[in-house]
Amino acid sequence: MTSLILRTASRFLITLLLLYSIFLLLRGHNAPGGGFVGGLVAASAWALYGIAFGETSVRKSLGLEPQTFIALGLGLAAVSGLIALFGKKAFLTGTWLIMDLEQGRKLEIGSPLFFDLGVYFVVLGTALTIILILEEEES
């Protein structure tokens, strides 16, 4: 599995794919995309990196255990649902902050964005947990 072409290419591809996954996540609310797909793209980016450089270097670059991403994502999704409680609304009701920009355009940030980010992390964490444990070299 030590192909020079794969190694060189995946070094660039991982950056592009991770950027693309964030792009998908952010545009998801208005166009095809979203946390689930974004998370899958990010996971496949890391999977590719893992195929090229091995499981240990993925773990090193990630910095966190993949299971931590699952916990992080679940926590984020749950907390984003709790925001609604401050407005005396039901759990997980969307809460929005709308800012006016120039030329009549608006920026809308809402709790569903953080929920979607949570989904992104859970999907990424789940896929990576499975892939990395399977890639682990038996010693």
Binding site: P32, S44, P112
Partner: protein, 774 residues
């Protein structure tokens, strides 16, 4: 009669549970001094109930209701009447005293904080049970007390005996609890309500209904298991594995009386019939006799007390079965009498064990010289137990005899059984009260006795005398409690002396008989033990073990049969049963085909379909696993392409990625398999697979096909497309549904994802680590 007041009955229950939560932290912070804030909480609860005495004894009932479930309507309804106040006072008062005792008894135990927590958990559940006015609520608290009892019996969890005793008690009582729930549901089917007062209103309807007998039997089963009646009595002696304060509190003073409480509570609705009489008096009498028979041959003080508890419980059930006003009266009095003397004696047994390290009745003697207060409390409790004049126990015994003689439906069997058990009580009172303390040859003490240990037994002993001398203090509460059991008001007068009457004659007979048994106890013990030795295989306890073994074998066989570990077997089960269900229900509606249906298929749809079939066939045909994986990938990509054709880019994108990931993961799994692994051909299995999958595929296709022919209800999709932008600020409906409209579903799904990932992680890790071990 009833009033709604601002006194919130849910508060004592909730504060008990709150105390259970803070208890470990209190112990962590304050260590030995944690007992004082905790005892203050339960002491406050006691005062809280004491403050209700004037209004309740004057005949009012406090009712409260909080809305809970709407369909079927189940409210959190609570009631405080004479019966529940009596029990609440016992639970909180005795609880407080025993809590203080435990702080000293378990002083150096490393899990004392945990003990406090379980203790309050039990107290709160028991309070909830006696205060609840709705059967479902009753059931919930009922099972909570069983769970609390499980933790407390198994408190010393390093010992195997404690663990198996805890499991035994839990299995027996919660099985009874489930039977009881079934009985409650039958009552609901008869009357349409779970509210106890409404059930009592409908008693005629209940009594004449065909479900009356099954409902009665099921509910009585629940009560009998909880109150350790024959043939379910065996869990109670086993439960003596619990620390002594627990035995005193749960397994003599309070929890085991929950069955009596429930039967008393439901007596106005269910009682008085022939079936009621027969069930309860039989169980009660048999328990009485079993208790006497077993108690006389024990040599461990705690076990003696446990079997004596069986006598008292049997007596209470017998009285409830008779159900006349005077019997109920005797029941209420004896309930309190027993709680006081038995609670006290258990605590004394604990002190003796603490001081000498032994509970063996033959090894202990002359302890009066080293522990005077303990010996005096023990003597007083024993005198009350033996029913000596001027003690509370005497009043109780007279009432019991009086009600048995008075009742026209009480044949001599009950009278004989009761007299025999009273003899046993007297004999064992002498054994425990006299031979341990007031004999020559003092057993050496290892420890002294602290004040905290003494408070509770002394109080119990003194109350036995106070109520004996001035029973009128108790008469009013006994009156309202008896009224609650009977369903109509009665007045109760308790007197110290009933004159020279038949009950007194029976009392004297049992006292003399008790002395005789005491002096012949060694011979009698040998005789009884030899009988038990020969009949060990016929006892209910033995039956329980056989039943448990059978259950385990059955479970193992069934698991092995259904969960054989072979993927082929799992899939065959799943698909096979699904097909049977599909074919059995409504197949005529969707199992119709017409060739004309195929004309509407367009050419590129044909191409995609062909691609899918090719992928599937290749996956099935190949013997190389990797080829099969890639072929399935092709199939998946073709499905994703159909999503593109029908304008679902989100789905298509996700499907492409999922397919990619699946191929990667499967390839990784395959890389772990031995090299050149191939699918071994097995003709029979192949044929079966072919038939199964072809049938299943046809069925599914037909199902989808015919579903599509139905007109589509667009109201839901219209709602989403109209409201996606105004309500959720997003134009991508799929995503808006996922993260906003149906976000709770998504939250559930990602939780499942996370759990699955951790499960897989665990499985692979364990396997790898196991293979590393040489």
């Amino acid at each position: 009669m009833s009033e709604i007041s601002t006194f919130q009955l849910i508060h004592p229950v909730l504060s008990g549970f709150a105390a259970a939560v803070i208890a470990p932290f209190a112990y962590f912070l304050l260590k030995r001094h944690a007992i004082w804030p905790l005892a203050t909480i339960s002491g406050a609860l006691t005062l809280y109930f004491f403050a209700q005495l004037p209004s309740i004894t004057s005949g009012s009932i406090i009712l409260q209701e909080f809305a809970w479930l709407s369909e079927p309507k189940i409210a959190l309804s609570f009631a405080l009447d004479g019966l529940s106040l009596l029990f609440s006072l016992l639970i909180s008062g005795i609880g407080t005293l025993i809590l203080i005792y435990s702080s000293s008894y378990l002083q150096d135990h490393k899990y004392l904080g945990r003990f406090y927590s379980f203790f309050f958990f039990f107290m709160a559940s028991m309070l909830g049970l006696v205060l609840s006015n709705n059967l479902i609520l009753t059931f919930i608290f009922w099972e909570l007390t069983s769970i609390a009892s499980f933790f407390l019996i198994g408190f010393e969890n390093e010992r195997g005996e404690a663990r198996s005793a805890a499991t035994q008690a839990l299995l027996v009582t919660s099985a009874g609890g489930l039977a009881m729930l079934a009985g409650f549901i039958l009552l609901f089917l008869i009357t349409g309500t779970y509210e106890i007062p409404k059930l009592i209103e409908n008693r005629v309807e209940i009594r004449t209904h065909a479900f009356y007998l099954p409902a009665l039997i099921l509910i009585v089963l629940g009560a009998l298991t909880k109150s350790a009646q024959f043939p379910f009595h065996f869990w109670l002696p086993s439960a003596m594995q619990a620390p002594t304060p627990v035995s005193a509190y749960l397994h003599s003073a309070t929890m085991v009386k929950a069955g009596i409480f429930l039967l008393g509570r439901l007596n106005p609705a269910l009682g008085g019939s022939d079936a009621w009489f027969l069930l309860l008096t039989t169980a009660g009498t048999l328990t009485l006799l079993t208790g006497s028979f077993m108690a006389l041959q024990q040599r461990d003080m705690k076990l003696i007390l446990a079997y004596l508890t069986l006598i008292a419980l049997g007596l209470l059930v017998l009285l409830l079965g008779i159900g006349s006003p005077i019997a109920v009266n005797a029941l209420v009095a004896y309930l309190v009498i027993h709680a006081l003397y038995k609670g006290g004696l258990f605590l004394v047994a604990g002190i003796v064990y603490h001081a000498t390290g032994s509970r063996h009745i033959n090894a202990l003697s002359g302890l009066f010289r080293t522990m005077k207060l303990t010996a005096l409390s023990a003597a007083l409790c024993c005198l009350s137990m033996a029913g000596m004049p001027l003690f509370f126990g005497f009043i109780g015994k007279e009432l019991v005899y009086g009600s048995l003689l008075d009742s026209d439906s009480a044949p001599w069997v009950f009278l004989v059984a009761t007299t025999v058990s009273m003899m046993a009580l007297t004999a064992l009172a002498l054994l425990v009260g006299v031979s341990m303390f007031f004999t020559p040859n003092t057993t050496q003490n290892k420890h002294g006795t602290s004040l905290n240990l003494l408070i509770a037994p002394v109080v119990f002993a003194l109350l036995g005398i106070v109520f004996g001398f001035a029973p009128d203090v108790f008469a009013k509460l006994a009156g309202v409690a008896s009224s609650a059991i009977l369903g109509h008001r009665i007045e109760v007068s308790l007197s110290i002396w009933h004159g020279l009457s038949p009950p007194l004659a029976l009392s004297s007979i049992s006292a003399v008989g008790g002395f005789l048994i005491y002096y012949q106890r060694h011979r009698l013990g040998i005789l009884l033990r030899s009988i038990v030795g020969r009949t060990a295989s016929l006892t209910p306890r033995h039956g329980y073990h056989i039943l448990l073994k059978l259950l385990k074998t059955l479970a193992a066989k069934q698991t092995h049969f259904l969960q054989s570990g072979s993927l082929f077997a799992y899939l065959s089960w799943l698909l096979g049963s699904l097909m049977i269900i599909l074919l059995a229900f409504g197949s005529e509606q969707w199992l119709n085909w017409a060739l004309s249906d195929f004309r509407s298929i367009l050419y590129y749809e044909w191409v995609l379909g062909f691609l899918m079939i090719l992928g599937a066939l290749n996956a099935a045909k190949t013997r190389l696993p990797l080829v099969a994986v890639v072929s399935l990938g092709v199939l998946g990509y073709a499905i994703a392409l159909t999503y593109v054709l029908y304008g679902a880019p989100d789905l298509a994108m996700t499907q492409f990625l999922v397919e990619t990931m699946t191929v990667i993961v499967l390839a990784l799994v395959l890389s772990k398999l031995p090299e050149h692994a191939r699918v071994v051909p097995r003709p029979f299995r192949t044929a079966l697979t072919l038939v199964l999958s072809a049938t299943f595929g046809t069925l599914m296709t037909s199902l989808v096909w015919n579903t599509l022919k139905q007109p589509l209800d667009r109201s839901l999709s219209d709602f989403f497309s109209n409201n996606s932008v105004p309500l959720a600020h997003g134009r991508n409906i799929v995503n808006v549904i996922l993260v906003d409209f149906r976000a709770l579903d998504t939250l559930g799904e990602i939780t499942v994802l996370g759990v699955a990932a951790i499960g897989i992680f665990g499985l692979v890790r364990i396997k790898t680590e196991a293979s590393r071990v040489p």
